[in-house]
Amino acid sequence: MKPSESAVHAGHHHRDDVGSKIGMWLFLFTELILFGGMFLAYAVYRLQYPNEFKLAAIELDALVGTVNTIILLTSSLTVALSITAIQEGKKHLAQVMLGMTQVLALAFLVNKYFEWSHKFEVGLFPQSDVLLSKPPGEIIYFGLYYVMTGLHAVHVIIGMAILAVMMGFIASGRIAKDNAVRLELGGLYWHLVDIIWIFLFPLFYLIH
């Protein structure tokens, strides 16, 4: 039980890093169940409408999905690097890495914005006449697409806010070499958002 002994004095304040991490992981599990329910709905409808899902997926641009996958994977790397940087006491490098993460997250959202606006232009949005004239399986595919990638995008925005607060903590010294647990927790959230996308990407963009 070595790690659980980390509740020992660090500086003057009582700290329980393992306890903090347990709390964060428990929260991440609720997130997993939230998205898990949607993946269940996806599984049922994909079984029910395999051909409609294939036809509807043609409307998605696999290149945009691939680029966004690379962007998110890279943003996870920069968050991970920022943690090592702060653990080595390299405050500036940690800030640069987190700044890069913010830029990548923004790039992801900009791509998403153009992707969605294009869909809206061709009339593929919930309750549109174009969409409602399609078979039920395709309507459900786009419903799931908007809800699941939309909820994911909301998580990206929340993640950006969390990492911005972390950058503030580094600047003020609340996150430092011997006290990096906050940044680790923020990183855990960011990586979970990455994992959700790892599954969303092939399930929506790569059906052939």
Partner: protein
Amino acid sequence: MDHNDQHPHDAPHVVSYGQYVLIWLGLLALTGITVALAGIDLGRWVIVTALVIAAIKSTLVLNIFMHLKFEHRMFRWFVVITLATLAIFFILLFFDYAFH
């Protein structure tokens, strides 16, 4: 005021920059493989290969980026229990679906 050296058990495991970059390259390679495989018509195996590769990618992110490999064993059990719960949801649902 650095206490890390005096308390070795208190010091977190520091993953090197190189190891992170290596994992990132692996994740990019796996993404490339998924995209390449999607171009080939594998029939019903398309979804299987896509999910297997996604699972491998997630394992890399969980173990290295999320430090699961370096945490106490308890954390791994947490993850296993959560994934098992999700799996039970899926299994029950597919039983229900199969007999409808």
